[in-house]
Amino acid sequence: MERKLAIILDGAVAIPYDNELLTQLVTICRSYKENDLFVKIDECSLSFITGIVSEDFSDYVANTLKDNDSELTTLPTNVIARLSLFSVYLTVLEESDDLKQHLYATMFMNAMILAKGRWNELSNEVVIREIYKFHITNYLSEHDTTGEVLSTSIISIIAKFRTGNDENKLNKLQIKDLQTIAKDAAYYRCDELLKNQELLNISNPFVRVYSIITRLVDSYQYLYYNYDAEAYIIQSANGEKKNKMLSNILKDIEPLSRDINTGTSVLLRLINKEQVKNSDFLLQRKLNVIEFGIYLYYELLTEQMIEKLEE
Amino acid sequence: MKCLIAGMPSTGKTTFIGALSYLLSNPVEGQALSFAEIPADFSYLNRLQQPWLSIKEVDRTQIGGATNIELSLKRNTDGNVISVSLPDIAGENFQAIVQKQSQLIKDWDSEPDSLMLFIKDLNSSVFADQFQNDDTIKDTKLPSFDMKDISNEVQNVLILKELHNLFPWKKLAICFTAWDVYQNDYSNPREYLKQNSRFMNNFIKRYFPDAKLFGISAQGDIYSTENVESLIEKTENGQRSFVVTEDGIKSYDLTLPLSSLI
């Protein structure tokens, strides 16, 4: 990991750090908020992407280096920003739980909305794209093994059930079929939601997509199906190609906003009128309807998954 | 509220305190601050006031000491009473910061909320030909680099930096003194700063964007035998000392800089 850190810091420091300091910094980045990794990812993602570094993290780095009698204790803000990226990278790569690993990466990627229009200000494209490999869609496509069943007798079996007796007679294969049917039902419900006239009649495309996506994710009884979210969003957009400044989009959806758990998300925080570092630039950026929908969708999904994990 | 009044030697800090103490007792119309309670022991303030009242240059503040002046002031707009603590410290002690000889400042255990920095004659340019009179120097020892070779603007920036490291005060007022000399050439103190020290202007805008700038004339005019009577009359009429704000507005309310820090 020292080598990776040296790569991340390349171009940030005038005189490359020696191995001893690199090793210390790896340990520091690993140990920072190690008991609260969701908070760590949120904080470090924002620090790196906005360049406005977390004071907590800066102080932790300085104090730990001081405690270790390091010659260098004060690190410049650009270095702290890159250490923040390294902290995210380290946390993702070293997480043994598959789901958490992908959630951390997705949180980071959701926060990348803050880089919209200023991509070239970010360093370490290669490292960032390594983190991208752990987006939640990859987890879902890997873990959602519920297959398709072309024909099954499970429907007629269940239709004939008399309660109290017959449920226990299902064998393993039938349970598998049942799972498939359940998934079919879930997808059906999504399809039906997307045909909801009341929602489709909303003329403002951003409000329409917001309404549909929030209801969609709320309706998920099981979060880990590999829903074709992009298709749903494109469908909700209904061919709309309009671009709109985010500040105006937020104004449009304000009447609909409600309390959403926003522990980790930029867009949801802005919708909730919470402070987000360096968001002024983002608020002046234009998003098209589908972009807006995708960012929103994955923020909502991530929040729900984290909430379920913590239950 | 603790306010540190800082500035190099002969920048008018003591004259200001003397004039201020007079005006707090004899407020002009619309003055922002006045005494809520006259200090029980006015003797130190009397000593500072005397030269100002007598239209005489003030004696230099004793080097090596810090006399703390405690004032109970009333803000006239809302009647609020504020305690203000102003240490009177010789300019040499601040200048000594640049020479790493500021034990007095370093040991000062008060934590000021604000700083009032007095600056006089910013345009003592580093580019001035300081060796003008030294044409005849030949085969003599190389002149040593000394405090006088560091420009006024750099000295003041260094003082600001080090004071802020020592005492992270929240509010800053910069007072360009002897404004009676500049008032015809500059409409406001920001213009004066920009034209005479772009670097210091950039420094202040960067680190202290909320700093207030003032042009101050505590004396009211350069002292000469010709204007003694006129200055006495102006003192009696409350139109002697004056302040010019960043907006270029002239006022006889010498408490404005202090009031801006409350």
Binding site: T74, M112, I234 | I63, G64, N93, K106, E162, N165, F199
Partner: protein, 299 residues
């Protein structure tokens, strides 16, 4: 913070005496804000981006200090250089010292010339914090070692190995005294540079993508332009042969005068704008925009 407190810790009692004569006639170390002499301290400088390091190389009297002083004076006097305004430095007194030396030179005071220079081992790192309203902040660091230091590097093989900064410089500017290049001191100049360049090469100094430039100073003292042109070309070829690399740009300047000196100002602009160039390693707009990538895949 501790360094700063250390800098202002006085060693004298509360009474403030007049400035004491220091052990060195030039009172180095007496003031806060002196030039720095520890290369590693650069890594501790507060900056939102990597400091841009320019190392000035040249022997005694080649004009490095005059150049730095002119750079400093220009930053103080002008509103900005190439849009960048000067707002801070950790080494203000170091810069003021160099201005002082320059003023001595300007006055042509009849004192032994070698005493009017930065001296061997004197602190040499100078910092300039600059800000552009559109492009943000930049920290420019200039290394102005004394000419004696470089004479030492030329004469002693291993000496330059200790210089970490020159190994990590973004730009190295080799100063040449154009007057000497055209007179009987030419051989001494070229020989000394050959020794220095060989030592630099042996210590692996020319492997990074460092900008290498030649600055022909004191151009106002050149009387024979043809001769100068020839000697200049010879010197460039000499340099390139030893270091096995092409010299980037060359400049012809008069470092000690700001009057009508557009060439000098252009060089200052070059230092500020082009010491670290934007590389193609910067992300392209689309490569980090995973959302649009997702949308495009769907299409």
């Amino acid at each position: 913070m501790d360094d700063k407190i250390e800098l202002i810790t006085g060693v004298n009692p509360a009474e403030v005496p007049a400035v004491k004569p220091a052990e060195r006639a030039d009172n180095i170390g007496q003031f806060i804000g002196e030039a720095m002499s520890d290369d590693q301290k650069i890594n501790a400088l507060m900056s939102s981006s990597k400091p841009e390091i320019t190392v000035l190389v040249g022997f005694v009297g080649y004009g490095k200090t005059s150049f730095v002083s002119s750079f400093y004076q220009t930053l103080l006097q002008k509103e900005d250089i190439a849009g960048y305004a000067f707002y801070d430095s950790e080494t203000l007194v170091g810069l003021e010292r160099r201005s002082f030396l320059r003023r001595l030179n300007d006055r042509n005071i009849e004192i032994a010339p070698e005493t009017k220079r930065t001296v061997l081992g004197e602190p040499y790192l100078l910092t300039f914090h600059l800000s552009h309203p559109q492009y943000g902040d930049k920290l420019v660091v200039i290394s102005d070692h004394s000419g004696e230091d470089y004479a030492d590097y030329a004469a002693k093989k291993g000496k330059i190995a200790d210089d970490i900064l020159i190994k990590n410089a973004d730009r190295i500017m080799f100063f040449v005294d154009s007057e000497k290049l055209c007179n009987e001191q030419r051989l001494s100049l070229t020989t000394q540079y050959q020794q220095l360049l060989r030592n630099m090469k042996e210590n692996g100094l020319f492997v990074r993508k460092t900008k290498l430039q030649l600055v022909f100073n004191k151009i106002d003292k050149v009387n024979d332009e043809n001769k100068f042109g020839k000697e200049k070309e010879k010197l460039i070829t000499n340099f390139e042969d030893i270091i096995n690399l092409k010299i980037g740009q060359t400049f012809e300047i008069r470092a000690n005068s700001l009057k009508n000196n557009n060439k000098l100002i252009s060089l200052f602009e070059d230092i500020i704008l082009h010491t670290v160039e934007e590389t193609s390693n910067q992300p392209q707009a689309s490569s980090l925009d995973w959302v649009n990538e997702m949308i495009n895949k769907k299409k």
